[in-house]
């Protein structure tokens, strides 16, 4: 089956997609990154500028903080929800899944617009806060508003990996723990929680990475004074045509992304022993 001929076929099948992605995606990313090292002169001048420019550093740190905050809040919101989904029977589970998939599949622009309506001065959220006695909190055009909107927009990306992992957990293990005298809390902490870690890791990294590269929501709900890194890159390219500078920040984002993925990739695999073992297969 794995003859040279069938390998030839396999290569032929994947070649068109590979060429398209290499030429129209990988090359642009590579070229942009390369410019950060080559212009205006070969070297690390772009990176020196980057770390010495206070505004840039502030924006990078702010972006990391917001991304972390969004990740933690979505995890706190999503974990119990996904847990409950995995507990329920098919009917209720489908309904809860529908509630996640609806925003997941909905237009990002539509959802961001909805948040503009919600967060506008004298809008519903401001009204609610006023009812609680919190008057005059600035939502639209503030970091708080951006964080709230991003949390809601990215929530499905946390629920889905968690749910996927949790449906794969054998609940009889909890019964076993109870039978050995563990309390509900102890059984959860010592059995369920460790088994759900791959889902937590996958969801967290996904949400964190998406937060880092988010542009639309901060751009429309935030303010230029409190911009995130996406807006910084856009400004450099759109207004200043500073591609090398944008490339340098891009490289920083790429490195963070790759490191996170490698860390979780290795971590998840280490947590699931024997999930995938390759090798000569002979069942005879």
């Amino acid at each position: 089956m794995s003859s040279a001929r069938s390998r030839g076929w396999a290569v032929l099948l994947l070649l068109p997609a590979l060429v398209v992605v290499l030429v129209f995606f990988v090359y642009p990313v590579f070229a942009l990154s390369a410019r950060s090292f080559l212009e205006p002169t070969p070297g690390f001048s772009q990176y020196v500028d980057l770390v010495t420019n206070e505004t840039t550093v502030t924006i990078l740190v702010r972006t990391l903080v917001v991304a972390l905050l969004v990740t933690v809040v979505t995890l706190l919101l999503a974990y119990p929800y996904a847990y409950l989904m995995s507990l329920f029977g098919p009917g209720m589970r489908t309904f809860l899944l529908f509630l996640v998939l609806l925003p997941f599949w909905s237009s990002l622009m539509a959802r961001t617009f909805a948040w503009i309506v919600l967060l506008q001065p004298s809008g519903p959220v401001a009204g609610f806060l006023g009812f609680l006695g919190l008057d005059g909190v600035k939502l639209l055009g503030s970091q708080l508003g951006v964080t709230i909107a991003m949390t809601q927009v990215l929530l499905p990306f946390m629920v889905l990996p968690l749910f996927n992992t949790m449906t794969g957990i054998d609940r009889r293990l909890l019964s076993a723990a109870h039978s050995m005298g563990a309390s509900r809390f102890r059984a959860f902490r010592t059995v369920y929680l460790p088994l759900s870690v791959p889902g937590v890791a996958a969801g967290s990294v996904l949400v964190f990475i998406l937060s880092l590269g988010f542009w639309v929501t901060p751009r429309l709900i935030g303010s230029p004074q409190q911009s995130l890194v996406g807006q910084l890159i856009e400004t450099k390219v759109g207004k200043l045509l500073d591609f090398p500078g944008a490339g340098a920040i891009s490289v920083v984002l790429l490195v963070i992304t790759v490191v996170l993925l490698l860390a979780v990739g290795g971590g998840v695999r280490a947590l699931v022993p024997g999930a995938k073992t390759d090798g000569g297969r002979d069942d005879g």
Binding site: M1, G280, D282, D283, G284
Partner: protein, 398 residues
């Protein structure tokens, strides 16, 4: 295209054509492990041959090289007299029944069966007739419009058989086809497979690790171990005359007495000399193999452990004459470790003086009055004892 020319002149189903010949077939995997090691084999047309062996012994890999799913690293494969070594599976004109049936889930039973009739130059009417005929053969008339998910495991098995036989291939390959069924259904399907084999006259090659299936179905058994063929013979030959300790222990249960050979048909076991069939090796380390149903209780031993065959009768414990054991040529002391009731017989687990354990099948008509812990004497006739060589300890550990 090629399929058509190969099958246009298909003979009537009862004509027995289509043997299989393997000539020094070796399969080395990319990882370097050897799946099949220099296997040569001839299967006669119409024969029912079983490849038996533990998992990893190379039996499925050998079947895969015949089917064309695995390309042998060296060697030659002939089907019905033609060299097929270089042909892809689709050009070999074989029937294959897979372990989990591999029925196409999106097709009905009828469409599954019809799949293999495509491109064989048959008219629509002929195809329809063939399908009905094979549905009838596997006793599934009326279920043609169901999908595989709508029928039971046993019925899926029958569809797989019908699908693989409907275009009348000269050879049918089956890879552990009964593995997914429960015990009762397995027994029923064994009978069915035997019947179908008699009806169609096709050569059947059947892979299993279940000795019961191998003994019950086969004309001949090919026993595999670690990629090699270690013995070929009829079920009776393999059971009565195992050629190796592996054969004796894999096929059926045995009492194994290890010792040194002291000439043809004589094995030194402790202080005793055991008499056995003299056609094995004459010197070196060896073992005498005796099947549990050939072993008989011939007496009890006294507390000091000395054999006391005659005294046993005096105490009324065991009457060897009544048990037809008077002539037992070999006698060995043992201790009863366990007694289990199996309906047709009692299975007595024994511990011999050298520490090895053994089994004895005791008839239920006149059960011997023995209890756990009793010292007993067991005996057997030389003609039921086979000598096999004992492999060196290191090799045996593997």
């Amino acid at each position: 295209m090629t399929d058509r020319s190969a099958t246009a002149a298909q003979p009537a189903p009862t004509t027995r054509t289509g043997g299989v010949r393997l000539d020094r077939v070796t399969k080395r995997f990319r990882s370097g492990t050897i799946g099949v090691d220099d296997v040569s084999l001839t299967v006669e047309p119409g024969e029912f041959v079983t490849f038996l062996g533990p998992s990893g012994s190379g039996k499925t890999t050998t079947l895969n090289t015949i089917a064309g799913f695995a390309k042998p690293s060296s060697g030659r494969i002939e089907i019905a007299g033609a060299d097929v070594t270089a042909l892809p599976p689709s050009k070999r004109n074989l029937g294959v029944v897979f372990q989990n049936y591999a029925l196409f889930p999106h097709m009905t039973v009828r469409e599954n069966i019809a799949f293999g009739l495509h491109g064989r130059g048959l008219s629509k009417a002929e195809i329809g007739a063939r399908i009905e005929e094979s549905l009838a053969m596997v006793r599934l008339d009326g279920l043609g419009d169901r999908t595989p998910k709508q029928i039971s495991g046993g019925q899926q098995q029958r569809v797989a058989l019908a699908r693989a036989l409907v275009y009348r291939p000269p050879v049918l390959l089956m890879d552990e086809p009964l593995g997914a069924l429960d015990k009762a259904l397995r027994d029923r399907m064994q009978v069915e497979i035997s019947r179908i084999h008699r009806e169609v006259g096709t050569t059947f090659l059947f892979v299993t690790h279940d000795q019961g299936e191998a003994l019950g179905l086969s004309d001949r058994i090919v026993l595999f171990d670690r990629g090699r063929v270690v013995q070929v013979g009829t079920p009776a030959e393999l059971y009565e005359r195992p050629a190796s300790l592996f054969a004796a222990e894999f096929l059926g249960e045995s009492n194994v007495f290890r010792g040194e050979l002291a000439g043809p048909g004589a094995l030194r076991f402790g202080e005793q000399t055991l008499r056995c069939m003299g056609d094995g090796p004459a010197s070196g380390s060896a073992a005498v193999v005796v099947r549990p149903e050939r072993l008989r209780l011939v007496g009890t031993a006294d507390a000091s452990g000395r054999a006391d065959a005659s005294g046993g009768a005096a105490r009324g414990a065991i009457d060897p004459a009544a048990r037809g054991a008077a002539g037992a040529e070999n006698r060995v002391e043992a201790r009863v470790v366990n007694i289990a009731y199996f309906g047709a017989f009692r299975r007595v687990t024994l511990r011999y003086a050298d520490g090895s354990s053994g089994l004895l099948h005791d008839g239920v008509d006149a059960p011997a009055p023995i209890a756990l812990g009793d010292p007993v004497v067991v005996g057997w006739d030389a003609e039921h004892a086979v000598v096999v060589p004992v492999p060196a300890p290191a090799e045996h550990a593997a």
